[in-house]
C-alpha cells in the first residue's frame, strides 16, 4: 500500500487538520467529535443542512460546507459511517431555529446512525427531516437488498437543497426539493482499478489487466459484473443505458449531466468520457442544460468513473445556478 499518509489510523484526523489549516477562515473544524462546520453557523432563521458519511469520498462531504451548500459535515473513519453523537453535535451546531435537514446516503450504517441521531435531536426539541439518496441503478431496489446506494446524486442534492436553504425556504420546502432531486436523478459507476483502504492495505477487489468492474459503489465494493475493457464509447454506453431506461429519461428532457471521477482518474479521461456521454444523450434526444465534470464523490484512489443524470426543472436550475462558496464547489461568489 502506497499512500501519502502518516499512519492508517490517523488519516481522518490528519486530513481534518489540513482542512483546518487551509480553510480555518471559513470553516470550523472539530476533531472530537469529527466535524466540519461553517464558521458563521448557525444562521438564525435558516434551515440547517448537514450530511456525513465515511471518509475516502473527498471532497464529499467536508468540501461542500459553505455558503449555499452544507452547514456542516460529519466525516466517519474511512468508508465507515459517522456516529450519532457526531451528527447530534453537528445538528445542534447548525440549528438556526428553522429545523435541520439530514442528507443521508442509503447505506445501512449511515441510515442506522442518522436514525439514532435524529431521534436524539428531536428529543432535544430540534425539528429534523431526512433526505435519503438512493440513485445507484447498479443495485436492484428490492426486498432482497438494502436498497439502492446513494452516490453521485448526493452532490447535486447538497448543492440544490443548499441553495434552497440559503434562499430562505422552509424545512418542508428544502426537504421536498432535496427529495425531488433524488427522485429525478440516477447514477451508475465503473472501475478500472480498485482502491486500497488504509486499514486493510489490500485491494478491495481483484481485476485482470484487461478487465473492468461495472456497477461499483463508492466503498470499494465489487460491482455487479466484470467485463473486458472496451473503448470509452462502450463504457459510457454501458453506464448510460441503464440510467436512461430506469427513470426513464425521455426525448426532450432537460438534464444535468455529471461525469464523476472515482479519485484516481485524470481529468483528461473524464472529458473523453463526457464527450461520449454528450453524444449518447443527444442521440436519446436529451438536452444537457448543465454539466459537472471532475472528481466530486470519490472512492480513495480508485480509477474509474460514474455517470449521473438529473432531470431538471426550472426550480432545480435556479438553485443549481445560485451562488455557492465552498472549498470544492464555487461560483457566483
Amino acid at each position: 500500500m502506497k499512500k501519502l499518509i502518516n499512519a492508517p489510523d490517523q488519516v481522518v484526523a490528519d486530513a481534518l487538520r489540513g482542512v483546518q489549516a487551509a480553510h480555518g477562515d471559513r470553516l470550523r473544524v472539530s476533531l472530537a467529535p469529527y466535524m466540519v462546520v461553517r464558521a458563521d453557523a448557525p444562521t438564525k432563521g435558516k434551515v440547517g443542512l448537514i450530511s456525513g458519511g465515511g471518509s475516502g469520498h473527498e471532497p464529499l462531504h467536508g468540501g461542500y460546507v459553505g455558503r449555499g451548500m452544507l452547514d456542516a459535515a460529519c466525516p466517519g473513519e474511512v468508508f465507515t459511517s459517522p456516529t450519532p453523537d457526531q451528527m447530534l453535535a453537528a445538528t445542534k451546531a447548525v440549528d438556526g431555529g428553522a429545523g435541520v435537514v439530514h442528507i443521508v446516503k442509503n447505506y445501512t450504517g449511515d441510515v442506522l446512525n442518522f436514525e439514532m441521531a435524529s431521534e436524539l435531536a428531536q428529543g432535544e426539541g430540534i425539528e429534523v427531516e431526512t433526505v435519503l439518496t438512493n440513485d445507484d441503478v447498479a443495485v436492484e431496489d428490492s426486498l432482497y437488498t438494502a436498497g439502492r446506494r446513494g452516490v453521485g446524486v448526493t452532490v447535486l442534492v447538497e448543492k440544490i437543497a443548499g441553495a434552497a436553504a440559503e434562499g430562505g425556504r422552509t424545512l418542508a420546502e428544502v426537504t421536498e426539493v432535496g427529495r425531488r432531486v433524488n427522485a429525478q436523478g440516477r447514477s451508475m459507476g465503473m472501475a478500472l482499478r480498485p482502491c486500497i483502504t488504509p486499514a486493510s492495505g489490500e485491494p478491495s477487489f481483484e481485476l485482470g489487466e484487461d478487465e473492468v468492474e461495472i456497477g461499483i459503489g463508492i466503498h470499494g465494493e465489487p460491482g455487479r459484473f466484470k467485463e473486458r475493457l472496451g473503448p470509452a464509447s462502450q463504457i459510457a454506453e454501458r453506464l448510460l443505458t441503464p440510467i436512461i431506461e430506469d427513470l426513464p429519461f425521455v426525448s426532450g428532457d432537460r438534464v444535468l449531466a455529471f461525469v464523476n471521477g472515482m479519485g484516481g482518474t485524470p481529468l483528461l479521461e473524464l472529458y473523453i468520457a463526457y464527450a461520449e456521454v454528450a453524444k449518447l444523450a443527444q442521440e436519446h434526444g436529451l438536452k444537457i442544460e448543465r454539466n459537472l465534470i471532475g472528481n466530486y464523490i470519490t472512492s480513495l484512489e480508485m480509477q474509474g468513473c460514474s455517470i449521473t443524470l438529473l432531470k431538471l426543472d426550472d426550480e432545480m436550475l435556479q438553485f443549481w445556478d445560485a451562488p455557492v462558496d465552498t472549498p470544492a464547489l464555487r461560483w457566483g461568489a
Binding site: G54, T80, T83, L112, A199, G217, G220, R224
Partner: protein
C-alpha cells in the same frame, strides 16, 4: 460460576481481546463482500469500551453492558455500531445481578437483545447477517436448563450459525449489493458474533 460484575467485566475484556486478535480476519471477510472495515470498527469500539470501563468501573453487569453499548454507539459507526450498541443496551437492560447465575433470566435478556437488533436492522434469519449467529445461540440458551451447559451450547450454535452464512445470498447490509456474488463468503458480523459467545462461555462458565 456467576454472572456478576467481575465475570461480565472479564467477558468484555476477552471479547475486546478477540476483536484485536481477529481484526485482520474480519477485515478480510468484510473486504470480500463489504467494505473491509468490520475488523477495525469492532476493534476500535471494544478497545474504547475497555478503556472506558477501566477509567470508570461499573457496579453491576447491567451497568457494565450499558457502558459498552454507549461506547460502541459513539465510537464505531457503520452498521455494527448501532447494531452491537443495541445488542449490549438491551442485554444490559435485561440482566441484573444473579449470583446464582439464573439461566432463564440470562436467556430472556438475550432474547430481548436479539429482538432489539432485529428491530433496528430489520433483518431476518437467513439474510446473511449477525442475526444468523445470534438467533441459534439465543435459542440454545432458551433450551438450556443450566447456565454452564447453556453457555457452551450457545457458543456451539453461534459457530454453526456463522458457518451457515457461507452459502447464503445476502439480503441486508452492503453484501446485499453483490446479490448472487455474496454467496460462498462467510459473513463478517456473524463471525464477530461467534467470538462474542465463544468469549462469553469462557468468561461466564466454569
Amino acid at each position: 460460576m456467576a454472572i456478576d460484575q467481575a465475570s461480565v467485566q472479564r467477558w468484555i475484556e476477552l471479547f475486546a481481546q478477540a476483536m484485536a486478535d481477529h481484526r485482520q480476519e474480519l477485515v478480510r471477510l468484510d473486504t470480500a463482500i463489504g467494505d473491509g472495515d468490520h475488523g477495525t470498527n469492532m476493534d476500535r469500539g471494544m478497545q474504547n469500551a475497555v478503556e472506558k470501563l477501566r477509567a470508570e468501573p461499573q457496579p453491576d453487569p447491567g451497568a457494565v453492558l450499558k457502558t459498552v453499548a454507549m461506547t460502541l454507539i459513539s465510537t464505531v459507526g457503520g452498521a455494527a455500531g448501532p447494531l452491537y450498541g443495541t445488542l449490549f443496551l438491551q442485554l444490559g437492560g435485561g440482566l441484573t445481578d444473579h449470583p446464582e447465575g439464573d439461566i432463564k433470566a440470562y436467556a430472556a435478556a438475550w432474547r430481548r437483545a436479539l429482538d432489539g437488533v432485529k428491530a433496528r436492522g430489520k433483518a431476518e434469519q437467513g439474510d446473511k447477517t449477525m442475526i444468523d449467529a445470534l438467533t441459534p445461540a439465543v435459542e440454545a440458551l432458551e433450551r438450556a436448563s443450566e447456565l454452564d451447559a447453556g453457555l457452551r451450547a450457545a457458543a456451539d450454535a453461534a459457530r454453526k450459525g456463522m458457518f451457515a452464512t457461507v452459502p447464503l445470498v445476502a439480503r441486508r447490509g452492503r453484501a446485499s449489493y453483490l446479490a448472487e456474488r455474496s454467496a460462498g463468503h462467510q459473513d463478517p458480523g456473524a463471525t464477530s458474533t461467534n467470538y462474542l459467545f465463544e468469549t462469553a462461555a469462557e468468561a461466564l462458565a466454569d
